[in-house]
Point group: D2
Chain length 161, copies 4
């Protein structure tokens, strides 16, 4: 089995730009993250976008869907911003692909203290190998079906709809 990881940006991949003095995007952290995870599982990393998910347009979601469609792997993890993770999951879920696709992300950027990013990626990489074909969101230690999940923004957690 080979796992494909699609990076789209999101809180997970935000970077502090010390000259501008703000959080933005630079290179994805995912190459370093994958090395740190000591994966022996064959993995393909693809940078589809590097966007705050609140800025994602329909065309961006189409690009993510297209990356899923053209992937030769049947296990895919998508690193995505949490604010519109559900929307992207709907676009992919409605396409009914014969693949296991798991979206995950982070409440705190990977490079900031107390980040949940590394755990969430482990969670998603695990269940992408074991769940039946379908589209899922893996956050907060839980696995949600794409058509029964929403983010509770005031609590900062995902829950069943």
């Amino acid at each position: 089995m080979t796992l494909r990881i699609l990076a789209t940006g999101g809180t997970f991949d935000k970077h502090y730009d010390e000259i501008a003095g703000k959080l933005t995007f630079a290179h994805s952290h995912l190459p370093d993250v994958i090395t740190r995870a000591r994966l022996t599982l064959p993995t393909e990393l693809e940078i589809v976008a590097m966007l705050d998910s609140l800025e994602m347009q329909d065309s961006d979601r189409s690009n993510v869907l297209a990356a899923c469609q053209r992937a030769t792997e049947t296990a895919i993890v998508i690193v995505h911003g949490t604010d519109t993770m559900r929307e992207t999951a709907h676009v992919i879920g409605n396409a009914n692909l014969a693949k296991t696709i798991v979206l995950t992300g982070a409440m705190i950027p990977y490079e900031i203290a107390n980040s949940d990013a590394f755990f969430n990626l482990g969670l998603a990489c695990g269940v992408a190998q074991t769940l039946p074909h379908g589209v899922y969101i893996a956050m907060n230690g839980q696995i949600f079906n794409w058509d029964n999940v929403k983010k509770n923004r005031s609590a900062g957690v995902f829950v069943n709809e």
Copy 2:
């Protein structure tokens, strides 16, 4: 679903004792780790031992097995030293419990830079919810059956036997 997490020590939970100047065990990191993971999944943490797995005796493995047997949960993650993870997996595997039990650990302690611990725990917490009943080792992004896995000590990775 409730997940039970059993701590047994291992590299994952080693702590630097600044007075003694060496790595040893103090309190488990797991309460902090679980908080950081922002789990909404109900979780029970149980400290079974706090041992380097090279020091584990048969009686310690019996204690781990007993903790699995008496657990009311059917999804269990065991945080364990990597050096004898396979041996403990064999003890539990041979007991044929109607539960999904996943052993994981770390090559670098949670509190040391570049640790894989947090990823591995995410991986294990995910697949403990999705795999059929059985005993597994989840390391290096992969899932191994208890009766077909060994640690390649010179490379520091788990492989099929």
Copy 3:
């Protein structure tokens, strides 16, 4: 000798608010930072403000000056945003206090990977005990007099004027 540390906010003390998804201020990191530094030097910490230095008003700088004036200690470190550190140093420098006052800060928040904050605080705490009375900026491993320093914003470093 007792050292007084004045917190005013700045990049050093920024905190990622995971619900709002942005860098802001919460509690100062300085109590934790001081514990981590294992100071045996008697230290008084005073939170004067918790502000981005670009938002600092004249009244805020007057508050910082007043805190310096009423301090019974003659060694003072001020943790301050870098963008207007020079302006606050001028306000205090012109007051000609019989104290050694050292401003420092950070290019990357204490809680973000690769932060310079902890080093800079050590630098400032050292020279606040050894320099003659006066007002100084300690950044980039260097010590600058308050009336001969500016920030090179495109390079993100302090230089002589």
Copy 4:
């Protein structure tokens, strides 16, 4: 002014070897540490040894003294293990060099959570530029003369003799 930094190993520079499963020495962390500190102060780094200070022999201390003697810089920071920092300070102090030499170290290795290493290096780099010629130990936020300092090993702090 140029600052010379001499690395000798010590707790500051210990590294976790994930294959051997223990703390040892590999490359010094100091090149990375110096980059992270964003020093504009010209700095020369010299690796004199990479030793636990409990293993230091007279010949090792002679090497450190020789490095101080041949240095063209008059400001020198020595990163050293804490257990025999006092002994090395005595060897250098008795040589009466016309230089400011500051020994520092760490109670927790740089790469382990909660390390004091980065603060201590900042402290030492500051006072090496401001103290009169002599030999000093800078630890715990304090500056000690070489002939009036000892480590309280049960408390893990330096105090006047």
